[in-house]
Amino acid sequence: MYEVRLEQFSGPLDLLLQLILQEELPINSVSLARVTGAYLEHLRAAEVADPNEMADFLVIAAKLLHLKSQTLLPTLESLPDEGPSLEAQLSAYRAFVEAGKHLAGILSKGRWSYPRTAPPAVPTFAPPKNLRAEHLTAAFGAILTALEPVVRFPTEAIRRVISIKEKIQRIQALVAKHAAITFRHVVGGRASKADIIVSFLALLELVKAEAIFVAQSSAFGELTLKKR
């Protein structure tokens, strides 16, 4: 489990798919809930070289945790704007992994077509009639404008990752301060889906580290967190 490199997976769905295939499970919500722990384990052990990549893995972690949290907290409603289910996403992904393998197989056969090779041409000066210097200036200016987001691309992803880490720290501090606290209190009254998921991520991590202890008074009751 040590020295996991996320780069060896082509993405979070690839990691998830491999975990499910390893256990020879079908793609459904029960299987997904079952491999959630293993998925998070990979994430925790992973070296994070690229924040973009980590953000993608965390998005899927959030979906997994939401799925799992629905089995623990049945009162937790499915939130609007849910988007495609993880199950549907993984099935579609698997289909295209297969298609990609087909493509690789076809490419390896070397059944290529070739275009006509143009004969060497002798350059003759033929300027376009209406082109002026300002057209060149405008074209280059447009290229620069289009490049800005490409160059600044990583910033947004870094911000996403940092915010998740900050929230985890905040929850850890909250639990440390109070002897006992409810999950509802941790996530706050007007929690967004992301907040709930991030809180749950922190919760699992703390339980795993045996730093806290979770009690549930009844089958659908509130979760109470206590310091060990």
């Binding site: 082509s10 988007g83 087909h102 076809i106 006509r116």
Partner: protein, 181 residues
């Protein structure tokens, strides 16, 4: 149809050092794009029927004449060898989505792959394996004619199980909610 349209299309495609769009052909031939499309189909059928040494390939609106893939080894021996270069798994996944789901948006590719695909799409564009076009305000991607040549098909529709992947219900369900990541 205009007189000799099929033969004229053949002349132009043969003379052009690069692929031509249906629109450009229509403007050169001073006719309707639909007529060009019919002419292209006829030329394509003709090549196929006589198992010609050449094929007419089409991706989206772009067409080109190329050598038949059956004779790849023979031709490879004497033209400047071009290669696809090594393709990583993420690249193959992205290419397969672009091949089967074209014309496809970045958001759709990302919904299927679960990762941000900005850099990988850029890289595939630079390598000339995919192309993009603006369609009603959105950028949409397809595999390029160059990549199609390496596959040895005349159009993406000839890919194995095209119907299954192109119109798959699983994928439709997924994409109806796709907003990218």
């Amino acid at each position: 149809m205009k007189k000799n349209l099929v033969e004229k299309i053949e002349s132009l495609l043969f003379a052009s050092p690069h692929p031509l769009t249906v629109k450009r052909l229509a403007s050169l031939l001073e006719c309707d794009p639909d007529e060009v499309t019919v002419g292209i189909r006829e030329l394509q059928e003709g090549y196929r029927a006589r198992a010609a040494g050449v094929r007419l390939n089409q991706v989206g609106n772009e067409v080109e004449i190329v050598t038949a893939p059956e004779h790849a080894e023979l031709v490879r021996g004497f033209v400047k060898d071009e290669t696809t270069g090594e393709l990583t798994r993420p690249q193959l996944e992205t290419l397969s989505v672009a091949a089967y789901r074209a014309p496809v948006t970045k958001a759709e590719i990302e919904a299927i792959r679960g990762v941000n695909c900005g850099l990988i799409l850029r890289n595939l564009m630079i390598r000339g394996l995919i192309t993009s076009e603006e369609m009603s305000g959105e950028t949409r991607y397809r595999i390029s004619l160059e990549f199609l040549r390496h596959l040895g098909f005349s159009s993406p529709q000839e890919l194995p199980e095209y119907e299954r992947f192109h119109g798959s219900e699983v994928i439709e369900a997924l994409l109806s909610g796709a907003k990218g990541i």
